[in-house]
């Protein structure tokens, strides 16, 4: 207990420091504090380009009500403004709101097609610089008027942005649209070998079962549909991918969650068969290798090897798959079916879009020294991509077949 004696001095220091801190704090006057009821929570943000090249920004601001029961009703306020840049427009928006617009709760960022084609970089900077903005908000591209998309009223959710948020969680699971968060956009826009795919949102009438996004002119209540994706090359949008192409692109990039599809029964029995893809893995191989030396980083042949398992969900055929031979034939058929899809995607990427949306460049980058990639390959990668010979090599197996081995009554 030698220490007992040394440290018995009293300690007004603690009190002093506490008082100083308090004084300092009260003097400062809480500059950054915002009372929560004075905060306008922006739930959805829309950005588009007007016909005359200016930037229009929409904000969907939640209007919280005191009673939680009333929250079911639509309680949001849509505002839009036009400015020369995104920041300019946002600034003007701020002037028109009684509440401080708070961008940390943006659930959905909807970008108009015109703006996307002109380059999303114009919006990226202001949002990445912003300490408030949420990296995990969803990013959509739409060919419909952005204001209309955000203005859609749905019964399922209190505002379009929250609806999109909820919808995205489900849609992305079925892989007809990519899970495009803002952070994916930010992180994948910098390397030429890794291009972002953004989910496409479109307006559709409730009865409109087709995939067309023509936009029915009637005034009947519209619904939002998330399907397909926008392909960006660099920061500029180069074209649309439909739902199947999107799924294939995700499959190739190893980002597929599950994918459901229906295909005709292989062989001559007729009928169709439905699947759920539950596991898949894609490898990008370079059978000829990657050149070193003179033409460092050059590639000519690419094989995309995809393996995986599908579950049978529906069999509408007289063939009940009870023989091993037919099962093998079925597996070949599935592989064939998916391979066709991938071919279609590669075709689209190389010719229609002219852009490496399937991350082959990223695979190259990983395999070559950093300097070679940076100096020799990166700048011309997309040109090189267009001339690649890309061969899909797909092998799928059938996994579970459900609770019944055969149909209760096979469909003829």
């Amino acid at each position: 207990m030698s220490r007992a004696r040394t440290s018995t001095r009293t300690q007004p220091g603690a009190v002093l420091v506490a008082v100083c801190l308090l004084a300092v704090v009260s003097v400062s006057g809480c500059r950054d504090a915002r009372e929560i009821e004075s905060v306008g929570f922006v739930l959805g943000l829309g950005i588009d380009e007007t016909a005359d090249g200016r930037i229009e920004v929409w904000a969907q601001v939640a209007l919280p009500s005191a009673k939680p029961a009333e929250e079911e009703k639509r309680e949001s306020w849509m505002a839009s403004s036009v400015g020369d840049t995104v920041w300019d427009a946002l600034r003007q928006l701020n002037n028109r709101s009684t509440k401080v617009l708070f961008r940390a709760h943006v659930r959905a960022l909807v970008i108009g097609e015109r703006f996307a084609r002109g380059g999303v970089a114009r919006a990226l900077d202001v949002l990445a610089r912003d300490a408030q903005f949420r990296y995990r908000s969803w990013v959509f591209v739409t060919s419909d008027p952005v204001g209309d998309v955000l203005g859609v009223e749905t019964k399922q959710s209190s505002s379009a942005a929250l609806f999109l948020d909820d919808l995205m969680r489900n849609t992305a699971r079925s892989s007809t649209a990519p899970r495009s968060r803002f952070l994916d956009l930010v992180t994948s826009i910098e390397e030429p070998g890794d291009q972002p795919l953004l989910a496409r949102v479109s307006l559709a009438g409730p009865a409109d079962a087709g995939r067309g996004a023509e936009g029915t002119p009637e005034t009947e209540p519209k619904e939002l549909r998330i399907e397909g994706s926008a392909a960006l090359c660099g920061d500029k949008m180069v074209g649309w991918l439909d739902a199947e192409e999107t799924a294939m692109a995700l499959l190739v990039c190893n980002r597929l969650a599950t994918y459901s599809f229906v295909m005709p029964m292989p062989g001559n029995e007729g009928g169709t068969i439905g699947f759920d893809m539950i596991r898949s893995h894609a490898d990008t191989l370079f059978p000829e290798g990657i050149h070193t030396g003179d033409a460092a980083g050059q590639v000519t042949d690419v094989v995309i090897r995809i393996t995986g398992t599908v579950d049978i969900r529906e069999v509408l055929s007289s063939e009940q798959l009870m023989s091993m031979q037919f099962l093998e034939r079925l597996q070949a058929g599935i592989s064939q079916h998916l391979e066709t899809g991938v071919r279609r995607l590669v075709e689209a990427a190389q010719n229609r879009l002219g852009c490496d949306i399937i991350s082959i460049g990223e695979c190259v980058r990983r395999r070559v020294p950093a300097r070679v990639w940076k100096e020799d390959v990166a700048s011309t990668w997309h040109d090189q991509f267009r001339t690649l010979r890309i061969v899909p090599d797909v092998h799928f197996e059938v996994g579970k077949r459900g609770m019944t081995m055969q149909s209760p009554r096979p469909v003829d």
Partner: protein, 354 residues
């Protein structure tokens, strides 16, 4: 008694441009160098039990030269202090308290550092242990949350920009680990020398592993270009992660925790510095020095006028400080061996203080 590297807040941005995708390995190399430095410091302390740094230097090289070495040490500490505090305050200011005057944040910061230094190393050490474990826990949580977002492919190619830059970045990282030499100033307070060196080694090792993990995950999430671009890479990764719908944007929690950890580290440095100065001046109690020195530190931390300038200073410091951290124990040890000096027992009684 663990000195930990809290420099990881900005470290990634310094390491990544040099080493590219291999920056995380650079952090590990830095840790190894830091362990070496720590080992030297431990040998030195073993040779001169119960001596503070200044006393050691005086014993080896005589009073004038020894005092000079003591002063360089204090200067080193001061620079660490100034840069470190500026950085922490900036992070707070830029990311969260945008309209609060930074002077206010500095004031709170320094009030706490002064308070900590006034209470002495015992209190700092005890509290550091708590916060250190909290920081480690926070980083583990962060890492766990980062796994779904991270793309391990971004870490390839494995050697990054090549071996040369990797080693160069290793030395940069070592300058963070090198800060562990401040322990020299109060090794004499430790009862158990072996335990102390082990604790120090653990501290450096854990600190640098943490830095490596943070850098690695930063690259996995943001990519090399992203990391080089953003202001505070680790903070940015913290912004990206989320768990379900309720645990998002928790970066302020992490930042506040790291802020406290940085504060404790700087309080340690502060304490090391003023006790050395007190030794040089021959004062028995360091407490009268606390306030003047704090003013000096504040002034120093206000020298860089802008964010860019701060990072500029930081780059320079990181580039050269490691050599000081290596040189100091080496010179002292060499001097001791060549001149054949050993520590007597004349200061042993001071060991019992803590």
């Amino acid at each position: 008694m663990i000195v930990f590297a809290t420099g990881f807040l900005a470290a990634a941005r310094i390491l990544v441009p040099v080493a590219g995708t291999a920056a995380w390995m650079a952090a590990l190399i830095g840790g190894a160098i830091g362990l070496g430095i720590g080992g030297l410091a431990g040998m030195l302390a073993g040779r001169f039990p119960g001596h503070s740094l200044v006393r050691m230097a005086e014993r080896i090289f005589g009073a004038p030269l020894g005092k000079l070495i003591g002063l360089t040490f204090a200067a080193y500490c001061t620079v660490v202090l100034g840069l470190g505090s500026r950085q922490s305050v900036l992070a707070m200011w830029i990311a969260f308290l945008q309209t609060t005057p930074p002077v206010l944040i500095s004031a709170v910061f320094y009030a706490l550092v002064i308070y900590a230094a006034y209470l002495g190393i015992g209190a700092i050490a005890r509290v550091s242990l708590i916060f250190f474990s909290l920081v480690v826990v926070s980083l583990v949580v962060l890492t766990a949350l980062a796994v779904p977002v991270a793309a391990p492919g971004r870490l390839l190619p494995i050697v990054g920009n090549g071996l040369g830059p990797l080693i160069r970045a290793g030395f940069l990282a070592a300058s963070y680990a090198g800060e562990s030499i401040v322990v020299l100033a109060f090794l004499r307070h430790l009862k158990d020398k072996r335990g102390a060196s082990r604790a120090m080694a653990t501290g450096v090792a854990v600190g640098m592993v943490v830095m490596a993990v943070a850098t690695g995950f930063g690259v996995m999430m943001l990519g090399v270009r992203g990391i080089s671009r953003v202001t505070f890479p680790v903070l940015e990764t913290a912004r990206m992660v989320g768990f379900g719908q309720f645990l998002e944007r928790a970066e302020i929690l992490f930042l506040a925790l790291w802020f406290s950890a940085a504060l404790l580290k700087l309080a340690t440095v502060f304490y090391a510095s003023i006790t050395s100065i007190a030794d040089v001046l021959g004062l028995r109690d360091y407490r009268p020095l606390v306030i003047p020195y704090a003013l000096l530190g504040t002034a120093l931390s206000l020298i860089p006028e802008s964010v860019l300038e701060t990072f500029d200073y930081l780059d320079v410091f990181v580039k050269y400080s490691v050599w000081y951290a290596i040189a100091l124990p080496v010179v002292l040890l060499l001097g001791a061996v060549v001149l054949g000096r050993r520590g007597g027992d004349d200061h042993v009684q001071s060991k019992d203080e803590h």
